[in-house]
């Protein structure tokens, strides 16, 4: 007779074998001390951010800070610029908030807090930012966004940041959230689009204590509904590291402002001009089609990306972009509020033009998002099987979430949706292993440890910065780095045997974040990439053939050629 144990053990073993391997190992982001300290002797400490009080009495305290990923010191690895907020008390006393911090990467994924010339003065209340080479000197500059004047940080040859806000043409006030660099007018100089949220003033907006604002029966902080949305802004680059406000020429006055939170750059109609997609909280999302010469028109409703499938506005937070169905056109994904679904706008050319429709349900992305409130998101091939996946960082805005009848929670698990091709996804059942739920906000993913797969950071509001190390990528990878200020908007195409993929180079990270100007491809088990082709925004074309994949990873750096110019796209 078989014993009970002999019956149970195979069942247990089977269960273990069937449990999917986590894709990411999650841990609080820990660093050693400042650059001049002895790394061996300085204890490591977890990095945390500030965003008001845990009670969240005001909407300004809710959205958290920003994560900007790029190679600041030019040493070939991805560094971090962390932007964070302040407290109500500091603002009341007219004191600055927490300063942005730079963490430099040693190349193997070990970060240290950078001191000296990398130290940045505090602003009023930091939110997000954008990265780009605004003066064409080959180093990565930054714009740090604030509730307060936005700031321009010029990279001093990879040795530190120098603040050049004064006379930069930026610096108007308001509550900025996300921004994107792009060469909108194709003059070889980066322009800047800044997304703004709402007119915030402690003196006029009631606090939670006023009990004027209620969510599902629970008094909560007020907004955004009922508050005045702020207009976004567009600045044209002058080429010398300064800008001028060109919002009127852009066409911003033609639309009602929304409560802007996120932005991505993408050439929607493949006309060679970079368009902009902006997620707006509780107001229709905007799609700005680039008409050339710095002029844009808003076509969100006409192209089907302003509202959900029922014609309802959603609480747009973060945005991810990528060609999830392999049809050559970008698809868009927007994270939303609990009780809503995250929206997956799939492109289609079946009609008279490239158009989008909300295919969140058919893509299997909608249902699992309903109880969650999503923020940071990114579309990339995290498992490197050749299909684009989605990562979504979740966390509610109200600490009252979880109270009776709310059907949601304040801290929520992050999610990964594995791409299955043809625009379909399946939620990874244990993408982050045993990581606890967090009140997540901004996120950014890139190859942090130089092994070719995509790792990431996420901000937990009132908590740690979380680091996600990719431990589950099963396929091989190709990383294409473009060595030019004019790389933003470049289309990178890759062929491996009968398969082809493409990416559009952008540093806009979707929500209060920025990403490296590179293109990452999962290529499955391939040992060689047959062809890499770069279509530069200038019209120039680069091509590299037969890239070998060694130890599961290939990395190519391509400079923009002066010749071999093709017809403009």
């Amino acid at each position: 007779m078989r014993t009970l144990a002999s019956l149970l053990i195979p069942l247990l073993t089977t269960g273990v074998q069937d449990a999917p391997k986590p894709l990411f190992r999650a841990a609080p982001f820990e660093v050693a001390g400042a650059a001049d300290a002895s790394l061996e002797s300085v204890p490591r400490h977890a990095v945390r951010t500030t965003s008001g009080s845990p009670e969240k009495n005001w909407i300004i305290e809710v959205n958290g800070g920003g994560l900007l990923l790029g190679d600041f010191d030019g040493e070939g690895s991805i560094d971090l610029l962390l932007v964070e907020g302040s407290t109500v008390e500091r603002v009341a006393e007219d004191l600055p908030g927490e300063p942005p911090r730079v963490f430099l990467n040693d190349g193997a994924g070990d970060f240290r807090l950078a001191g000296g010339a990398w130290e940045i003065a505090a602003g009023r209340w930091g939110t997000g930012g954008a990265l780009g080479d605004v003066n064409g000197d080959g180093t990565l500059d930054a714009v740090v966004l604030e509730w307060g004047p936005d700031r321009l940080l010029i990279n001093d040859g990879g040795k530190g940041f120098v603040e050049r806000t004064k006379d930069s043409g930026l610096g108007t006030g308001g509550w900025s959230t996300s921004a994107a660099f792009l060469d909108a007018d194709q003059d070889g100089v980066l322009d800047l689009f800044v997304v703004r949220y709402l007119e915030f003033d402690f003196a006029t907006i009631p606090s939670r204590a006023s009990r004027e604002c209620v969510w599902k029966g629970h008094p909560v902080m007020c907004g955004p509904e009922g508050l005045t949305p702020s207009a976004d802004a567009f600045y044209r680059g002058n080429g010398d590291g300064t800008f001028h406000d060109a919002s009127d020429t852009f066409g911003l006055g033609a639309v009602e402002p929304g409560y802007g939170l996120g932005v991505v750059t993408v050439d929607i109609d493949r006309d060679g001009r970079t368009d902009l997609y902006v997620s707006n909280d509780s107001t229709p999302n905007h799609l700005w089609r680039n008409l050339g010469e710095g002029k844009f028109e808003e076509v969100g409703l006409a192209l089907g990306v302003a509202l959900d499938a029922n014609g309802r506005e959603q609480a747009g937070m973060g945005i991810a972009v990528g060609d999830a169905d392999g049809d050559g056109h970008a698809d868009l994904f927007v994270t939303n509020f609990s009780g809503e679904h995250n929206a997956f706008y799939r492109s289609s050319t079946r009609g008279a033009r490239v158009r989008y429709s909300d295919r969140s349900h058919a893509s299997r992305l909608a249902g699992p998002s309903v109880p969650r409130l999503g923020w940071g998101t990114q579309m990339a091939d995290f498992d490197q099987d050749g299909e684009l996946d989605l990562v979504v960082i979740n966390g509610h805005v109200y600490p009252q979430a979880g109270a009776p009848g709310t059907d949601t929670m304040y801290a929520q698990p992050a999610q990964v949706f594995a791409g299955r091709g043809a625009g379909r996804f399946d939620e990874h059942p244990s993408a982050f292993g045993a990581a606890p739920p967090i009140v997540g906000r901004a996120s950014a993913f890139a190859d942090l440890d130089g092994d070719g797969d995509l790792d990431g950071f996420a901000i937990e509001v009132d908590g740690a910065v979380w680091r996600y190390e990719n431990v589950g990528a099963s396929g091989h990878a190709l990383l294409v780095e473009l060595g030019s200020v004019r790389s933003l908007g470049a289309r990178v195409e890759v062929w491996v045997q009968e398969r082809a993929w493409w990416r559009e180079v952008s540093t806009a990270g979707g929500f209060q974040s920025a990403l490296p100007a590179s293109a990452h491809f999962g290529i499955g088990a391939a040992q060689k990439v047959d062809r890499v082709r770069i279509q530069w925004p200038s019209g120039a074309v680069s091509e590299v053939l037969d890239v070998p994949v060694r130890r599961g990873f290939a990395r190519v750096r391509i400079e923009e050629p002066a010749v071999s110019k093709e017809e403009p796209r």
């Binding site: 009631p206 006023s210 004027e212 209620v214 192209l303 349900h361």
Partner: protein, 402 residues
């Protein structure tokens, strides 16, 4: 005692068709300043999980008529009265009152099956979908063979985004019940959300076989056709749905989407303008309904709902709003003004049948009000019923001028 238990079973049966709306899932996504916070009622601070199970096996034969006398004899005092209050409150949309009554029942009979079933429907109407699901699960835990009564569980799962479970539940319910358009509609929507548009279309067509003018089903059908790439058919379907429900922005939205897809931009932009007006009106309606959810007896809000509906000229919306106003008024002056508004609204729209029904209702509700009869004489005359007009005039004289 058995007859009392049977009356409870009848009550339960009467509630089976509820809830029926799957489209009220819009949740407030933000908090707007300018209002005055209402304290969360105590009854909503409690969770259904606060009523732990005890002796669930007691109810194993609750729905067996042969066992009801025996079960009825053991019921705790107050249980049936509590259920009657809950039933009445549900019918009047006084959901908080109903929930309080159900809680009082569950305190003394923690697994009483009808209480959990009605609680499921009540939580659903209160938009507490997780609680509704829990209540239905507690019902099925003690009455697993009564799955046919729990299509509301499918609605709760659907609203929580658990579409596969919703679909499976609807299918299980359909195995135990004859036919129900609402269940098939729920099944079709769950399938749509799962990307199974072909199956969804099949089930929706079954709904429309029984009710070919069902505007909601027509709109969903148009949506499904659009998703499947049958754009021209989707446009035609959307326009048909809009005819049957002119106050609903959704069919106009689908028509706009289809026209943009077809490259007919000028027409699409005309539909867009129409949609914007309707959507603004629908948003106002949703806001008022949200404010009426916990405190439905607010005639001024119900009156705003009527004004909103009249502006759309949508007979279905107007009827629902007038019904809401009627329910929010009590006998006396406010009831009279509600009746007057109903009759005059329908007369103004030239809807003779509806005006006649409203006048008859006014005769019943306001029989003791001289002013009502004075007005009714005019209304009946306008409706061409001179006999009733004369009788109304006589009642007015009998009662004496106010």
């Amino acid at each position: 005692m058995s007859s009392r238990v049977l009356s409870t079973a009848v009550l339960v049966l009467a509630l089976l068709c509820l809830p029926t709306e799957l489209s009220n899932a819009a949740l407030q996504s933000g908090a707007r300043p300018g209002g005055v916070a209402l304290e969360l009622p105590e009854v909503l601070r409690q969770r259904p999980q606060d009523f732990p199970s005890a002796q669930p096996e007691r109810w194993a034969r609750f729905f067996d008529p042969a066992a009801q006398a025996e079960i009825g004899a053991t019921l705790a005092p107050g249980v049936l009265d509590g259920m009657r209050i809950a039933e009445s409150a549900y019918a009047q949309e006084l959901f908080l009152v109903g929930l309080e009554a159900l809680h009082s029942v569950l305190l003394v009979e923690p697994d009483f099956p009808p209480a959990w079933l009605v609680a499921g429907a009540t939580y659903w109407r209160l938009r507490r979908y997780g609680d509704a699901l829990y209540a239905y699960d507690r019902f099925l835990a003690v009455a697993p063979d009564q799955i046919a009564r729990t299509h509301g569980r499918g609605h709760a799962l659907y609203t929580l985004g658990r579409y596969l479970e919703a679909k499976e539940h609807y299918l299980a319910v359909l195995e135990h019940t004859d036919q129900s358009a609402q269940i098939r509609l729920g099944l079709a929507l769950a399938e749509l959300r799962l990307g199974e548009s072909e199956a969804a279309l099949k089930h929706l067509d079954q709904v429309l076989e029984g009710a070919p003018d069902d505007a909601e089903a027509l709109a969903w059908r148009a949506q499904m056709l659009f998703d499947l790439g049958h754009t021209a058919e989707a446009l035609e379907g959307a326009r048909r749905a809009a005819q049957h429900s002119p106050g609903d922005p959704r069919p106009v939205w689908i028509a706009m989407e289809a026209l943009f897809e077809l490259g007919r931009d000028d027409e699409a932009q005309r539909e867009e303008k129409r949609w914007r007006v309707l959507e603004r009106s629908a948003a106002d309606r949703r806001a008022i309904e949200g404010r009426l959810l916990l405190h439905p007896r607010q005639p001024h809000l119900a009156r705003q709902l009527v004004e909103n509906a009249v502006a759309t000229k949508d007979v279905g919306l107007i009827g629902a709003a007038l019904g809401r106003l009627r329910a929010s008024t009590s006998p006396g002056e406010s009831a009279l003004s509600a009746c007057v508004l109903a009759v005059e609204t329908w007369l103004g729209l030239g809807a003779q049948d509806e005006a006649r029904r409203a006048a008859l209702d006014m005769e019943r509700r306001c029989a003791s009000e001289p002013a009502a009869w004075q007005r009714l004489a005019v209304y009946w005359a306008a409706l061409g019923d001179l006999e009733r007009a004369e009788r109304a005039q006589q009642r007015y004289r009998d009662l004496g001028p106010p």
